[in-house]
Every structure is written in C-alpha cells, then in structure tokens.
Amino acid sequence: MKLSVGYMGLHILNELPMSVNSSSPLLKVTGLKKYFPVRSGIFSRVSAWVKAVDDITLHVNHGETLGLVGESGCGKTTVGRSILRLMEPTAGEITFEGEDLLALKARELRQARRRMQIIFQDPYSSLNPRMTIGSIVSEPLKIHKIAKGQALQDQVNELFVKVGLRPEHQSRYPHEFSGGQRQRVGIARALALKPKFIVCDEAVSALDVSIQAQILNLLRDLQQEFHLSYLFITHDLNVVQYLADRIAVMYLGKLAEVAPVEDLFTEPKHPYTQALLSANPVPDPTIVSQRTVLSGDVPSPLNPPSGCRFHPRCPQVIDICKTDDPPLIMIGPPERGHQVWCHLHA
C-alpha cells in the first residue's frame, strides 16, 4: 500500500539520456561538493579542508520521496542545505525543474525559493519566539505578495486546517505549543508558498514516537494532496521505510548505496547498509536478526580514510579497499536504479 503512494515507478538514471521531458527528474544533483576550510594560526590561513560532502550525485523525481540516511556528521544535512542554496556548494550542479540553481542571481533565487522549502528538526529553534504562529505562517505570503487582507487570512486559515492546527490559535506564540504542534506550524510555513519540493531535515527526529507517527501521516497526506516531492533526511531507517520510495545511504560525505526502498531492506548490498539494517530493531520478535556490529568510531571527515572511506570499520574489507576508491556498480537492471559503491560487487 505504502509503495503505491507517490511511487512513480520511473527511475531514470542520471547517466541515461532523457528523452521524455515529463519523466526527467524534478531535482538533479550532480557532483555536489561542499568543503569547509579549517583555519589556523594568527593569519587564519586555510590549513585543511573538511570534505563534508564529496561528490554526491542524486536525483528526486516528481512526487517521490527520497530518503537520505546516514549517521550524524556524515554530511546529509549539508546536502539538503546546499540543494536549497542555504549554503553555497563548493562544486557541482543542481538542476531544479530544468533550471540551474547555482547560476541564479539573488533576485531570481528569491523567486525560485517559492518552489522549494525546508522543514527543520528542532521545533523549538525553528520558530521565531517573538512572532505569533499566525504571522509566522502569513509572512511568506505577504512578502511574496501572494495575498493580502481577507484573502490572506483565508489562505492562512486553510493552511492551519490542512496541517491540523486550529485557526483560532493564530494569535498565540510558539512557546505555548507542544513539539508536535510546533512542527505543524513549521510545516504550514513551508507549505505556504505552495512548493513542489520540500527538504525534511530530520523532521520527526526530535519528537516522541507517537507524535512522529502523526507527523509522518500528515506529511504523507500532504504529499498526496499537493503532489510534493520530499528529500527526507534522517538517521532513522524506520522512519524512511515508512515514507520513502527510494533511499540513499551516505557515509562520510559520500554515497554508499542508492536503491528503491524494498530492495534496500530486502537485499542491501553495501556492508555499511547491512550494518545499519542489522542495528535497526525489527518489529517481529520471531525473526532472529544477524547483527553486524560496527567496531570503532566514525572517522573524522577532516582526515578521511584512503580508498573506501568505510574500510577501517568494514567487516568484509579486502585489500583493494584500502587504496582504491570503490567504483559505482549497478545491481540488477539499470532502470531499477540500485546503485552501490563497493569493491565487493565489482
């Protein structure tokens, strides 16, 4: 049931020529890199670079949810923010609806922002404590001159109802609400400009499990109603399993595996994905899971391991992993879109 939702069944690979325009992805990210300089010394000279995101290529189709999974510090948030140009990427190409986002001037970028939005993790810091929730939601509509007066009020009321908030509460301040309700305000704000694409940056990670389910349901309903595409960033596989059509697994700034959700859960190919899945609690107690326990800590992205970045922790490491970058391998038919970066499958 879940997979029929918004699952277009069309996963055109980036490498394939795009013949039909309607099937070309909504968002295409090619070779995205974001390096942060590390400065030291009295003259603040750049002494090293943290490669937070190192050459990521992915795409999001119309109406689809791409889950972006990884441990904290693997660069997944940086990917999300770079796509929205909330951070300037160091290199790469971002095409949204056929438009090159990185080439936009400040003015055009402000217009483009109407089509892509973001929902944050922390419902406490994501709302301005000195604005009523009504003005938080109506501000973008006013600024972009979409509505004013009664029409504005009607639109805001409608948004409140859509996300399950009472319009009567508009004159209240964020601190009067619970985490889940605040998250709904954040969602209403993101929806106000009728975007096509929303980055959900750990959007439910800070909430209680029961509230998580409500918010996930809400996100899914909204996706159907408005034909939204999500980039759902999370460290929690359970959450993406519920919502995502495809999942991209990241490790230390690089992609490890990209696959449709059912493939990833039934036959994960990358040892890192396998380890993540085995650490994931299985709802069925009769299944004895074979746990692959990862040893060691996540290495610092300041000084990543040579070759495959996962090799110091990989249970199946082979010699070549220590020296050579793992190649991109397609698993199964190319239109399935199951990609893995690992020497084991070469």
Partner: protein, 330 residues
C-alpha cells in the same frame, strides 16, 4: 488512502488542540511580567527606580523651572545645620526653605542639601541614561555589523577582525583612567562628561551584540526565513534584532548604574560636572572635607548613590531572569 488513519490523525489533532486544554493566551510581554513579578528584589528595585525617575523629573521642574527649592541660595548664617533644623532667625524670609525646615541640613555655604540633592538627581540620572544611550548605539551598530556582515572582506582583513580587534584594543585600557584623561583635556561640562562616558563604555555591548547575532544567525528560524526568500533587511530587523536585544537591555540597565558611579567618581576627584550644577558626586566630594563635623553632607549623597546603583542592579538581574529564553521555554 486509508480513512482510518486520517480520521485518527485529525482526531488526535483536534483533541490535543482543544482551546479548553490550553492555558489562556499569554503574550511574551505578559509572560515576562509574570516571571518578573515573582522576583521581589527586582520589583523592589523597580519601584525605587520609578521613585528616582519621579524625583529626577520633579528635581528638574522644581529647582529650575519653578524655583520652589533653590539649590543655589547661599546663607552664611545657616552653615552646617543638621537635617530637620529650622532656619536661623536672621535669615531673609525669601531664602527660607519651602517646607520650613532644612530636610537634609545645609552645607558649608548654607545651601539647602535637599534642594541640591533634588537637582542632582536629574543630572546624575540623565548622565546615566545619555551615556548608556550613546554606548548602546555604538555597541549595537558595531556588534551587529561584526555579527552579521563579519565575514565580508575589506581588502586583506574581514569586517569582524577589524571591529573586534579595535574593541579589544579599547578594552586594554582601564576605562576610568581613559575617561579621566579625556575629561582633564576637554572643557568641563555636563555634556562632555555624558559623551565621554558613553564613548568609552561601548565595548562590552559590542561583544555582547556580536555574540548574540552570531548565535541567532545560525538558528533555524533565520534559516527558514532565508529559505522563504525573505529579504535580508527584514531578516535582520524582524527576526534577529528583537531576539538579540533583550539581553542587551539587561546589561544596559546595569550600565546606567555604572555610568552614575563613574560620574560620581569623576566628581569626587574633582574632574566631574563643574559647579554650580549639583550632582550626587560633587555633593559627596564637597562633603568629604567635613566628614566629622557634618557627616550628613557625606552620607546622604553616598547612600543615595548606593541605593540607586543597587536598585539598577536588582532590576537588571530580574530582567535577565525574566527575559532568558532558555528559562522561558519551559
């Protein structure tokens, strides 16, 4: 798609958002008042300051505009009278104090100490407010620039480095001696003192505002505003400034107290507001020579300064508590 879940969702949504279930609406201002009122010391300080404000305004009006209490009348027959003593028989009726007795006694020239204190309250308070106004203006401007546009380069140096190194350099000098030097070199007047105290006390505010801006700039609601395409000027003035200023005003409250203290210190050393303007500092300074013969000349202004500085500090502490967003979100 599945009716059950959706209806369950909307049910949960409505029950948890029942208006009855929520506390009555409370604006941040009401909440601030509620927290502030719980702090009795701060409330006490607040009323002392209100009284001081009234005294200061009254002092300006009644000693300069309608001269009910004349601080400048010299009565050589009535020197060194202790508080509550009646004027001597020989004094002219026009020179006699309004209430019939010298409430706070007289000084070495027979001037009414109450009238002088009354006039001084306005001078001292206005020095405090103007000086802090100047230092806040400079501090918020420089701190805001460093915090928001700090990464912008001017040639080989960033704005942040430029502003903050200058601030550090200014902080290296002991403020009081810097002010003392400047006052000694410039023509003495009440305005010089105000401006100089203001010009040499903005460093703390600058650092403070910069730190606030740096941390607020990284908060999600500012990122959200950027993502919504809200113009930069509106992000700064609507989203950042209101959230950065609360702690700044706390430190400003305490700043007023320290400006009053600085002025008193300057007057005590003889570099303060020149006569005939009375300030609490120069009344104290005049009285120091007669500490054994006429202790009221020394203790009355001393106590006044002490109480006012204490009140400002108590109010500042109370404000800090009531405005602290971390405490408030609970």
């Amino acid at each position: 798609m599945n009716g059950e879940e959706t209806s369950a969702l909307s049910q949960v949504g409505t029950t948890s958002l029942d208006p009855e279930a929520m506390a009555p609406p409370e604006t941040p201002w009401q909440e601030f008042l509620r927290v502030f009122k719980k702090d009795y010391q701060a409330v006490f300080g607040f009323w002392v300051l209100m009284l001081l404000l009234l005294t200061a305004l009254g002092g300006k009006a009644l000693t300069e505009w309608w001269v009910v209490f004349d601080p400048e009348v010299v009565r050589l027959t009535d020197k060194f009278l202790p508080p509550f003593s009646a004027p001597s028989a020989g004094s002219l009726p026009a020179d006699q104090p309004f209430v019939g007795v010298y409430l706070m006694g007289t000084d070495e020239l027979g001037r009414d100490v109450f009238a002088r204190m009354f006039q001084g309250s306005f001078v001292s308070l206005s020095i405090g407010f103007v000086a802090v106004g100047i230092s806040l203006g400079i501090g918020i401007l420089l701190g805001g620039l460093a915090g928001f546009y700090g990464h912008v380069k001017l040639g080989f140096i960033t704005i942040d480095t430029l502003i903050m190194r200058f601030t550090d350099a200014m902080m290296c000098f002991p403020t009081f001696f810097l002010i003392l030097t400047a006052v000694a070199l410039l023509p003495p007047s009440i305005y010089t003192i105000m401006i100089i105290i203001g010009l040499f006390s903005w460093m703390g505010t600058t650092r403070f505002v910069r730190a606030e801006f740096l941390s607020i700039r990284e908060l999600d609601y500012v990122t959200a505003a950027k993502a919504l395409g809200i113009p930069e000027s509106r992000i700064i003035f609507r989203h950042m400034v209101p959230n950065a200023l609360a702690p700044v005003f706390v430190s400003a409250t305490i700043g007023v107290a320290s400006a009053i203290l600085t002025e008193s210190g300057l007057s005590f050393l003889g570099f303060g507001v020149p006569p005939p303007d009375a300030t609490w500092g120069n009344i104290l300074s005049d009285g120091k020579g007669f500490i054994f013969d006429a202790p009221w000349l020394f203790f009355i202004p001393g106590m006044a300064i002490f109480v006012v500085v204490l009140a400002f500090n108590l109010v500042g502490e109370g404000l800090r508590e009531a405005l602290n967003p971390k405490l408030r979100s609970r």
